[in-house]
Every structure is written in structure tokens, then in C-alpha cells.
Amino acid sequence: MTRIDQTFADLKAQGRKAFVAYVMAGDPDVATSLEVVKGLPGAGVDIIELGLPFTDPMADGPTIQLAGQRALEGGMTVDKTLQMVRDFRSTNDTTPIVLMGYYNPIYSRGVDRFLAEAVEAGIDGLIVVDLPPEEDDELCIPAQKAGLNFIRLATPTTDDKRLPRVLQNTSGFVYYVSITGITGSAEAQASDVGPEVARIKSQTNLPVIVGFGINTPDRAKTIASVSDGAVVGSAIVSQIAAGKPVDDVLDFVKSLADGAHSA
């Protein structure tokens, strides 16, 4: 049982929805970023999604693109991202960390080497945007063998015919992308999301978490009420981009977490 599985079991026992927060590793610098990440569990975050910066984030809107650029310009690397996770783990051994990014930095490092390092550092799961089920042999299968969850995105374009294939090698949870579009671009609508989540849940026992287009405590609540939890990324990253002090960022995160948890 991974930390992710444990977290969902605990939430289920408590009858609570999950709140997942995304931040970019190394944005705006490693020290600040680590301080934010260390503060997330205390702000009510159940699962941390840590962005692995990439020069060409094709599924991301301007907010997360710029966060990646800031991180890279600040010298962020895969090594330093792994070290951030180790530093976090020295103070927290329960909150799951899902690394989210694109395949090339992982491929470039070598899949086997990367997976060994990720497990050792204390990463629990991976979301790799540009690896659909058609490319499962690349990373998904080896990651599961290494003991990591491989969390797949399901989207509004994933039709019934395709859904079983998307769910087949997914573990941990299913990440439902609430909109067709890039991160931070449009607002998720509960009336659209509810039936889609129900459709996915009819074919899997995994929790279904919804992300993209969730930017306020109210929306986090609304979306969490029709799913197993909500992810917020761009709205948090915007606070960091605006240069807000870490405490203010964490206060904002807490308001979102409270929103999701009140569902």
C-alpha cells in the first residue's frame, strides 16, 4: 500500500474529500519552494503534486509555463527536485507526493535510474502528461513494478470505448481533467464534471480526483462534492508568481482545502 492508497483509505474512513495542491518545484527558488511544500500538509493538503519543470509544457497554460521558466532560470534540475522531496520527507513521512511533468527529463535521465531515485527520495506517484496508455511500456509499467503509482489523466474526450484502456494500468487515483484545454484556462463546471466522474467510477474502484479549472474555495467545494476530491494548481502558483509571502500562500491554500473538505 503506497502513501497514496493509505491517504485515500483514511479519507474514506473519515468521510472526507481529498484536497490536492500543485506547486512547481523550484519556483521561484528552491528554498522558498521547499518552505511552501513543507507547509502544505499543515494547510490541509492531503496530496502534494510537485511539478517537475520542463521547457516545453504543452498541456499547461501561461501560469504554469512561467512557473517552470522561473524554476529553470533559477537553476532547478531533476537532481534538485529529488533533493527537495528528500528534504520534505525528513520532516513528513505520511503526505503523498506525486511528481507531475513531462517525459523528456525522465527519459533523458534513464527510466530505471530515475525510478530508483524517485522511490529512494520518497516520491509516491507519477503523472506524466505526454504518456498516454499507448506508450505504457515506456514508464507506466516499469514505474508500477518499482512500487510507484502511475496516475493517468482521463479527459472529456476519453469516450466509453477508450476509458477501459485509460483505466487499465492506472493506480493510486484517476485524475479527471475537467475541461478540454490547458491548465488555468477555463472554469470547471460541476454540471459537466458530475456525470463524467460517475461514468469513470462505474468502471473503476479507484478514487477520481478532478483538476484543471478550479481556482476558488467555492469551486473546490462544488467540484469535490461531485467527485473524490479537487486539485488546484494555477491559482496557487499565481500567488507565488505575485511574490506573496509563504504564509499568505499557505493561508490561500488553507482556504481552498477548507472549501474542498466542506464538500
Binding site: 521547457t55 516545453d56 504543452m58 523528456n104 498516454p132 493517468r152 469516450d159 484545454g181 484556462s185
Partner: protein
């Protein structure tokens, strides 16, 4: 050659792979779209009415076949191999790009798509897409790096005249790779009505194969025309490579003619060295995954993509089509690089010797011809792809040569 292969023309496999290259590395949102595209393309490919429409437009709208031209003065000047040019710069819109655009737009119409998006570097693919969209009354949006918008102003104006919306892309360094990122972001947002018309033999399967098939008209014609002119195959075929569509179009019909040397010419920029101020993915890069496919990429040791550098906006791309990556690895084609300075020399020579103003892209291919032709025997036949005309580049070339075009007479500032 490897005995395991009885043909070099069977790729890609059912997973879109050429050897280990290619594939479908896209987000889930796009996956159903590219599967549908593949299905529709497979259907069109075997449909005579599809090809009948293509050939009719190639003939009457594009002006195909393009001539195969014996460059006699250049041959004499270089004093070695016999040099032929495949004149794809004479196509409507001034480059090979329209060969492929017509195919994709006809396919888009069959699929009921009403909104066409494209990325462009030098602007030739954007102009070709805007042109065909105007002809068919389709909405056209072209993503172009802000840096390229600046250095290819004539093509930007042409696209706007043709009714396209040109969106300058400011992310990254504002070149072709960034334009492709934004086109993919548009596609992922507008999945129902939008067709992404990719301009080169890259991207997720089926694009590399589909664009190659549409561009292969170049090589098919060249082969027949060479038969008519010389009664035999050429000894060497040469083309410039950014993403590699004109090259793949020329090369593909010759892949199984193993007597034919195949040479792809990458943009060497300021020189292929550790400073990476070039766009030579094969000679200066290593395999990675970007824009939906695995191929050779310019990247740092951490897998971050590097911005290429070339005087030619059309070659300014950090990747290369996956089939080229495969041909490189198995050794069926040879890939070399040419610097900005060498390309400019070839540009000038072509103007002076042949009365043809070449685009900067084929000037790279011509520069390699200049290197090898003098050493080759007079009965050696080279066929290079003159894939674009240079009208769009005159401002860039003027600047590089220190020529001020602001006055009516023009004057040298040297």
C-alpha cells in the same frame, strides 16, 4: 545494408514507430483525436477519389509537376558532378509546403472540420495553409514565434492578406518550437471543430507518415524526370532539413534504390560545437521526446530542450522528423551540417550562376553540393531539392550582407 530489411519503405509500424523513433507522446485529450485522424487518413489513402482530388489540385492549383532542371552553369562553375535541381520553389506559394497542406486540408474537409490551425517558422507553411484555407473558405489560425514574425515580415503580411489570423508566440524564445507548443495548446482546447495542419514530418503518429506521403510527390516526380533526362537514377540526392519534410519527400521514393546516396543537410548556424548555436539535431543532439514523438533533439544534460540557432527561420527547430532519426541510425541516409556563412555563399552563387534566388533553407543543401560536387566525377549525377524561393529572405540576407534597403537605391553600408 542490414539483411533484416528487405525494404526501407515499410515504416512506421502500427504504433507509429520507425525503429525506436516516432510514437504517440501526447496528452490524453489529444489521443482520441490522433487516433481518429489515423483512421480517416488510412481510409483516404486507399480512396481513389481522394488522390484524384489531390492530383487535380496539384496540377491546376499548385502547378505540378515541378521541373527537374539541369543547372549547367553551376555545374561548369564547380567543375565536377552534374547538378540537377528539383524546382519545388516554383510551386504556388513558393515552396514545397503546399504539397502537404493540400492533402491535410482535403482530409480536414472530409472529417467535417471547419477551423484549421498551423504552426510556422519561416512562414512558408503558414502561407500555404492560409492559401488553401482561403481557397476552401476555412477559418485559419497560424501560430508563429514572435521572433519569426519580425524576421519574416513579408510572409506575415501575405498570411494576413489571405485572411488568416497570425498569432505571435512569445513563450520560450519565440521560434518554431514555441509556435508548435501553442498550436498544440490550441488544439487541446478546441478539440471538436479544429484540425491541426502540421507542416513537417514530425509530431505524433500519423503525422510523420502522412506528411511524408503527401510530400513524396517530389521524389516520385524526380525519379521519373531523371529517367527521362538521363535514363537512370541519380547518384546522390540532397535536401535541407529543419523538421525534414522536403527532404523526406525527395528521399522516400529512393530509399530502396540503394545505389543512391542520400544526404540530409542540417542548419549548422554558427557552427556545430558545445555552444549549441545551431539546429543540427542529428549531428549535435541526442534522442528525446518532444511534440508527440521520440527523435533526436537539441537538449541539455537534464533533458531540457534548447533553442536552436539558424539564419534560416525554416530550419530553426530543435528536433527532426523521426523517420530521419531512424534513417540516420541505420545508416541509410547521411546527415551533415552547413553553417549560416556557407549557406549565404551558396545563396549568392545560385543567384549569380543560375538566376534563381533560393530560399535560405535550400541554400544549405546547395552549400553542401558546392562542397562535394568539385571532387566528384563529371558523370556523377546530383539531384538537390530547391524547395523554396528566396523572396521572403531578401531582408535577412541584405542585413547579413550589410546592405541597407531603406533607401530607394539601396546602398552598401560596408
Amino acid at each position: 545494408m542490414n539483411d533484416l530489411f528487405n525494404s526501407f519503405m515499410t515504416g512506421p509500424d502500427e504504433n507509429g514507430r520507425f525503429g525506436n523513433f516516432g510514437g504517440r507522446f501526447v496528452s490524453e485529450t489529444l489521443m482520441p483525436l490522433i487516433l481518429e485522424l489515423e483512421e480517416q487518413y488510412e481510409r483516404a489513402k486507399t480512396d481513389d477519389s481522394f488522390w484524384a482530388e489531390m492530383h487535380d489540385l496539384w496540377t491546376h492549383y499548385v502547378g505540378r509537376p515541378s521541373p527537374l532542371y539541369f543547372a549547367e552553369r553551376l555545374t561548369d562553375h564547380l567543375g565536377g558532378a552534374k547538378i540537377y535541381m528539383k524546382r519545388d520553389e516554383l510551386n504556388h506559394t513558393g515552396a514545397h509546403k503546399i504539397n502537404n497542406v493540400l492533402g491535410q486540408i482535403i482530409l480536414a474537409r472530409r472529417m467535417g472540420k471547419t477551423r484549421i490551425i498551423a504552426e510556422t517558422g519561416a512562414g512558408q507553411h503558414g502561407v500555404a495553409t492560409a492559401t488553401v484555407c482561403a481557397k476552401f473558405g476555412l477559418k485559419c489560425i497560424v501560430y508563429m514565434g514572435a521572433h519569426d514574425v519580425e524576421r519574416q515580415a513579408p510572409n506575415v503580411f501575405r498570411m494576413r492578406l489571405l485572411g488568416a489570423e497570425v498569432i505571435p508566440v512569445t513563450s520560450g524564445r519565440g521560434t518554431l518550437k514555441d509556435a508548435m507548443n501553442d498550436a498544440l495548446r490550441d488544439w487541446v482546447t478546441n478539440v471538436r471543430d479544429t484540425f491541426y495542419c502540421i507542416g513537417t514530418v514530425a509530431g505524433p503518429h500519423p503525422y510523420p507518415a502522412m506528411v511524408r506521403d503527401f510530400q513524396s510527390i517530389i521524389g516520385k516526380e524526380a525519379k521519373e524526370q531523371m529517367q527521362a533526362a538521363e535514363g537512370r537514377l541519380p547518384d546522390t540526392i540532397i535536401a535541407a532539413i529543419g523538421g525534414g519534410s522536403n527532404a523526406m519527400g525527395l528521399f522516400y521514393p529512393f530509399l530502396d534504390d540503394t545505389s543512391v546516396n542520400i544526404i540530409g543537410v542540417e542548419a549548422g548556424g554558427k557552427g556545430v560545437n558545445e555552444k549549441m548555436e545551431h539546429c543540427a539535431s542529428l549531428t549535435g543532439g541526442r534522442p528525446g521526446v518532444l511534440h508527440g514523438n521520440r527523435t533526436y533533439l537539441l537538449q541539455d544534460e537534464d533533458g531540457q530542450i534548447l533553442e536552436g540557432f539558424s539564419i534560416s527561420a525554416g530550419l530553426d527547430y530543435p528536433g527532426i522528423g523521426p523517420e530521419h532519426a531512424w534513417l540516420h541510425d541505420i545508416g541509410r541516409a547521411q546527415y551533415v551540417s552547413i553553417t549560416d556563412v556557407e549557406a549565404l555563399e551558396a545563396f549568392k552563387l545560385c543567384c549569380e550562376q543560375e538566376g534563381i534566388i533560393p530560399a535560405l533553407e535550400p541554400s544549405h543543401a546547395l552549400a553542401h553540393v558546392m562542397k562535394i560536387a568539385p571532387e566528384l566525377p563529371k558523370d556523377h549525377i546530383i539531384c538537390m531539392n530547391m524547395c523554396g524561393r528566396g523572396d521572403k529572405d531578401i531582408f535577412t540576407v541584405a542585413r547579413a550582407l550589410g546592405f541597407d534597403m531603406s533607401g530607394p537605391e539601396g546602398r552598401s553600408v560596408e
